[in-house]
């Protein structure tokens, strides 16, 4: 891993208008960077804007404000040619392996579609490439003539990965790639993602609500709450000494498959639920559920500050 930033996100905002005078701030002032060959995990509860963030970084959504730099170039200000190149280099793996594959295309065509657009190979080379990709994700060339409904969930997710790899990307956004799968299959897919990263030097943005899996796969982890990153640190620091009250509660709520630990654990209980992201008030968004809330929290939105080396927290306590 070197220190070059592959992705740099600066004050990214994505708002959706939901009726008159009502804005849903799905991503609100998010900044982070991802180095080459690194995995950045993004965790948070449903509705916190993780997926929207991932999609805006890829340019699937037009950002409301802010910038996303890929290798130093702003993706929202690229010309046609550069954009095509960016789309080849940045790919996505989707959450639902049942809904993200076209049921009327064969596996070969699903994987080959990107090759046709970006690489353009002869018929024979294309087939060879598809076969080698299938091998890489642990399937075999027989699968290329089959249709998605003939495969199991885990196999389909492998197809999703092969499709992303087909155009030889540098950067992949993995949007909850394992949450629709069984435990034993989850482990297979995560192992595959880690293996591919080692072999091909890929960079991942790994979005998930499964905190233990994110810890397992990531180098650094960002915690999102209602559209903002509240804490960003190396995975060791984040799980060993979480600082933001929300991160602390989140980590203490992870169920651990070990009765002895479970029985003697102090849970930080969060009251209530995530408030609506529509027309959020000024100040810290976590204030209403926070046990440490002070007057200042309702007035000023806390900025993401570097509290310790490479450990960023957005909270007035620090």
């Amino acid at each position: 891993m070197n220190n070059e930033n592959l992705i740099e996100v600066v004050n990214l905002k994505k708002y959706f208008s939901v009726g008159k005078d009502r804005t849903l701030k799905a991503v609100d002032n998010v900044s982070f960077n991802i180095k080459k060959g690194e995995t950045l995990g993004l965790v948070g509860e449903s509705g916190c804007g993780k997926t929207t963030c991932g999609r805006t970084v890829l340019g699937i959504y037009q950002a409301t404000a802010g910038h996303v730099y890929y290798n130093g170039k702003d993706i929202h200000a690229m010309n046609r040619e550069e954009k095509l190149k960016f789309k080849k280099n940045a790919q996505m793996i989707f959450q639902d392996p049942y809904a993200s594959l076209d049921p009327r295309m064969t596996i070969g065509d699903i994987i080959g579609e990107g090759i046709d657009v970006h690489i353009k190979l002869s018929h024979k080379e294309r087939q060879e490439k598809i076969d080698s990709l299938l091998g890489k994700v642990g399937l075999n060339s027989e699968h290329s003539a089959r249709f998605p409904h003939e495969l199991s969930g885990g196999q389909r997710q492998r197809i999703g990965i092969a499709r992303a790899l087909a155009v030889e990307p540098e950067f992949i956004v993995c949007d909850e790639p394992i949450s629709a799968l069984d435990v034993s299959i989850q482990a297979q897919i995560v192992n595959l993602l880690i293996k591919l990263q080692r072999e091909l030097g890929l960079t991942y943005l790994f979005i998930s609500h499964d905190l233990s899996m994110v810890k397992h796969i990531s180098d650094r982890v960002g915690v999102m709450y209602l559209g903002s990153i509240v804490e960003l640190a190396s995975n060791h620091d984040l799980y060993e000494k979480p600082m933001h009250p929300y991160t602390q509660a989140l980590i203490s709520a992870i169920p651990i498959p070990d009765p002895k630990i479970e029985d003697n654990r102090n849970r930080i209980k969060l009251e209530g639920e995530v408030p609506s992201p529509i027309n959020t008030p000024e100040g810290c968004k976590f204030m209403k559920r926070c046990i440490h809330a002070k007057e200042i929290c309702g007035k000023i939105t806390p900025e993401l500050k570097e509290v310790e080396k490479n450990h960023f927290v957005a909270c007035h306590l620090f």
Binding site: V183, S184, Q188, S212, I217, Y239, I254, P255, P257, K269
Partner: protein
């Protein structure tokens, strides 16, 4: 002396489909004591939910068929022989169920108040006013703030966690003796999951309800269950108390399940233990041990004959040929042993 309230003996359930007979549950036995929590654990398609639904007689017959020789006995009464009338009082008063998906299991056209009151009126024969009072009490019990106003809300006005609380309130409305929770927290976020589990624990203590928890999440089980039953391809492969399963399990499938979850204390990017292959097709007859095709310790006999049940203690038993005196000695995987020393 503990009271046994449910006995399941040799339960076999099949579904008749165009492709043939799918034998989803292939002969399982278990008992449930009063106030106890039993967890059914396994991958999707292993027959957990079918077992739960069979106990409540919620399976549609046909295509489903509960085979001859199966017995489900609730408090001395045979559930499979209940009349229609007895069944409708059995469901609700004696046993009730929380479903996996709180988004789709509530009626979107009725207020949540009416949905709770429905069962109170039918089972407890309360009039409207009493039922409403009781409904408010129930909503307060499951920690829904502002219950008086909330009973007028429709499901779409509530969040996922709130809906699951409403489901629990409905399930508890008639003080059932058994509560079947089918993946009650799978659709919820971790912080909400913790709230719901705490709630279920409190309720269990207060009303001495026995709970059958159907789940694939071993973290939830570690926190919540008294006894665990690991299922594979419609059979129980290992059963025991919570500690026996977590610290002393002997079946390779249980090992695989336990070691494929990442732990917070692993160093990251290590390879996770991944079980290869997929569960067997349940249409075909299974020869030998159902797990043999994916088992690392598979021996010749495993392919030929079904393993017998070995008892390790009063509560701990499993079916695996490795327990046979002539079988080679196998050790629990290192990941699991390490944990035991802590």
């Amino acid at each position: 002396m503990v009271e046994k309230i449910l006995e399941v003996k040799n339960l076999q359930v099949s579904f008749h489909t165009y492709a043939g007979e799918v034998r989803a549950v292939r002969g399982i036995d278990f008992d449930l004591d009063k106030g106890e929590t039993l967890a059914l654990v396994g991958e999707s398609g292993c027959g957990k939910t079918v077992t739960a639904k069979a106990i409540m007689r919620l399976l549609k017959v046909p295509p489903a068929e509960i085979k001859k020789g199966s017995e489900i006995i609730f408090n001395g009464e045979d559930v499979l022989k209940m009349s229609k009338k007895r069944l409708s009082s059995f469901r609700g008063e004696d046993i009730s169920m929380i479903f996996q998906d709180p988004m789709t299991s509530l009626n979107p056209t009725m207020t949540i108040g009416n949905q709770i009151m429905e069962s109170l009126k039918i089972h407890k024969k309360l009039n409207k006013k009493e039922a409403e009072k009781e409904a408010i009490k129930l909503l307060e019990l499951v920690n829904i703030p502002n219950a008086k106003e909330r009973i007028k809300s429709f499901p779409h006005q509530l969040s996922g966690g709130m809906r699951q609380r409403v489901m629990i309130a409905i399930a508890l409305s008639c003080n059932p003796k058994i509560l079947i929770a089918d993946e009650p927290t799978t659709a919820l976020d971790v912080t909400i999951q913790a709230q719901i589990l705490d709630l279920l624990k409190e309720l269990k203590k207060e009303f001495e309800t026995a709970i059958i928890l159907v789940t694939h999440d071993l973290g939830v089980v570690a926190n919540f269950a008294d006894k665990i039953q690991v299922m594979y391809a419609g059979q129980v492969v290992e059963r025991g108390t919570r500690d026996e399963i977590f610290y002393n399990s002997m079946h390779p499938y249980t090992w695989a399940l336990l070691s494929s979850v990442p732990r917070l204390n692993t160093k990251g990017k290590e390879e996770l233990y991944a079980l290869g292959g997929t569960p067997p097709d349940l249409i075909l007859p299974l020869k030998g041990c159902p797990f043999s095709s994916r088992c690392e310790h598979c021996m010749e006999i495993c392919l030929e004959e079904k393993p017998e049940i070995t008892k390790l203690s009063d509560t701990h038993s499993l079916s695996c040929w490795l327990q046979h005196p002539y079988a080679p000695k196998t050790e629990r995987p290192a990941v699991l042993r390490g944990e035991r020393d802590e």
